[in-house]
């Protein structure tokens, strides 16, 4: 059932000023009251984290110099010489790590409760497309401090991209802007990270919210189609969001102050002692790349991750029954559990290989 949000049309002869109309529309926004509960805060939390990432990123950009020789020094200066600079970097660091986790929960919840089913297919698809953009943010962002970890992770990631047949080499060249990982590459990564990707992200957020407003929030599983009681968006949701923002900012700030964001040694292509370790979110992919060797590598680096993404995008069209109760959707649930189990096992294998017995 489509839950329409309030639509106040301004009559052509109205004496209202333009902004008054907008204000009235915003004030008139309502959401189903059953959506206001602690189990449904993941979307708001994502918006909180993206806001924190945006704010901390802008402030860090004021002190960043995208040149291999000085990039590291500028980040070092921000973190250790500027009052609260340490907090900015830390909040940015912890916010994106937490963002991945919260996005995972958001996706998982929408999947379990069948929130992707008609008429909300577009909400789901626009949501899945975030999983295309966020890894690009991480790939481009990791290189910016120009420390050992960022430099070597970038080398490995670009090699993985380069292993894709036909287009791989071209993609890497486009990314780097040439054969070297130097100033041209760093400038490209920087522009992608602070200009093009945020632009695309804002567009995606607007699209996701538009789909949500026009197609409505998913109702409770026990819903019988009767109109649900509604609550005003302002001030109920706005105030809760602001509270969530304040709590998250303080929480991440304390983490950043207590455990500062890591900044390794400056990038050094000659250093033979540095052992790059994959990050937690990419462990499964790293393991796939290790399992499929030589000419089969494309299976691990492109076919499986790409296939997962296609499968997730196509989900609303593969599972079209209106049934939303998870215990009545056994086939979909079993497939999902198998996929999650395989990804978890791969991640644990990768963790053991790289962190528990790092003898090499």
């Amino acid at each position: 059932m489509v839950e329409e949000m309030t639509r106040q049309r301004i009559e052509p002869g109205s004496k209202d000023k333009a902004l008054e109309g907008l204000l009235k529309r915003l004030q008139g926004l309502e959401i189903p009251a059953d959506a206001i509960c602690w189990r449904r805060f993941f979307g708001s939390m994502i918006l909180v984290l993206l806001t924190l990432l945006f704010l901390s990123g802008v402030l860090m950009a004021f002190f960043y110099s995208p040149v291999p020789g000085t990039a590291y020094d500028s980040v070092d200066h921000l973190q250790f010489n500027l009052p609260m600079g340490n907090l900015l970097r830390g909040v940015h660091h912890y916010a994106w790590n937490l963002l991945l986790i919260v996005m995972g929960f958001h996706l998982f919840r929408a999947f379990i409760l069948g929130a992707y089913k008609a008429p909300r297919q577009l909400v789901w698809i626009s949501g899945v497309s975030f999983f295309l953009i966020i890894p690009l943010f991480i790939i481009t962002g990791d290189l910016l401090p120009w420390d050992q970890k960022g430099y070597w992770s970038t080398q490995v990631r670009l090699s993985i991209i380069g292993s894709i047949p036909v287009v791989g080499d071209l993609l890497v060249q486009m990314f780097r802007g040439g054969p070297l990982t130097g100033i041209v590459a760093l400038t490209r990564f920087y522009i992608l990270h602070i200009l093009l990707l945020p632009g695309a992200l804002i567009f995606l957020i607007a699209f996701h919210l538009y789909a949500l407003v026009t197609r409505g929030l998913s109702g409770p599983l026990s819903g019988n189609g009767t109109p649900r009681p509604r609550a005003p968006f302002f001030p109920v949701i706005v105030n809760r969001w602001l509270l969530l923002f304040i709590v998250s900012a303080i929480g991440l700030g304390i983490m950043a102050w207590r455990w500062p964001a890591p900044l390794g040694d400056p990038a050094d292509p000659t250093d033979s002692s540095f052992i790059p370790r994959p990050e937690w979110w990419v462990l499964f992919l790293n393991q796939l790349v290790t399992i499929f060797k030589g000419p089969l590598m494309i299976i691990g680096s492109a076919i499986i991750p790409g296939g997962l993404l296609v499968l997730m995008t196509a989900l609303p069209f593969l599972d079209r029954s209106p049934e939303r109760r998870p215990w009545r959707r056994k086939r979909v649930m079993i497939i999902a559990i198998v996929i999650i189990a395989v990804l978890t096992v791969l991640s644990v294998m990768g963790y053991i290989e790289h962190f528990v017995r790092p003898e090499h």
Partner: protein, 172 residues
């Protein structure tokens, strides 16, 4: 034609006018204009962002001096640093190669870049293999992959000796 059956015979010009669908004409016009706008916007994108990226790395001969300290039983790390024009800036490019004296060919010199995912391989004196720290790939002293994900051998680098100096061809 249905029109001819229901109404009185219509003049020829009128029928012809009906064939040109005004909304199709508008759509075609918009498509042509949009195509033009895209081509105009894409031209500088191609010339600045794409074409310069396709430049391949250039190889050059690097002088490593007298290589009399190289032994035939173990690989030694030879580091290099030279200036490379990267975009608009000359920046030092640093790296290293693995070299040893070889009775047959004079020298044997391997690139340090792992054939798997471009990490630096390290020569392990005790186990006599090259090890890659990233994904535990191993190569024997001839550069052939022996275990782990790599399937391709380490690349052998061209070298020559001129005036008792070892020159190695390095591509960046």
């Amino acid at each position: 034609m249905i029109i001819a059956e229901t109404g009185p015979p219509q003049p020829r010009e009128h029928l012809q006018e009906k064939c040109v669908n005004p909304s199709r004409r508008a759509f075609l016009m918009t498509s042509i204009l949009a195509g033009g706008a895209i081509v105009l916007s894409a031209a500088p994108l191609v010339s600045t962002v794409i074409v310069p990226s396709l430049k391949k790395g250039v190889g050059r001969w690097i002088d490593f001096g007298k290589a009399d300290s190289l032994t035939s039983d173990h690989f030694s790390m030879l580091s290099y640093e030279f200036m490379v024009k990267d975009g608009w800036l000359d920046l030092p490019q640093r790296g290293f190669v693995w070299a040893k004296a070889d009775s047959m060919e004079g020298f044997k010199i391997f690139s340090s870049t792992c054939s798997h995912l471009a990490c630096n391989v390290i020569w392990n004196k005790d186990s006599r293999v090259f090890e890659c720290p990233c994904h535990s790939g191993r190569f024997d002293p001839d550069g052939r992959p022996v275990s782990g994900p790599p399937k391709k051998p380490l690349s052998l680098l061209l070298h020559k000796v001129e005036e008792e100096k070892l020159l190695i061809h390095i591509t960046l």
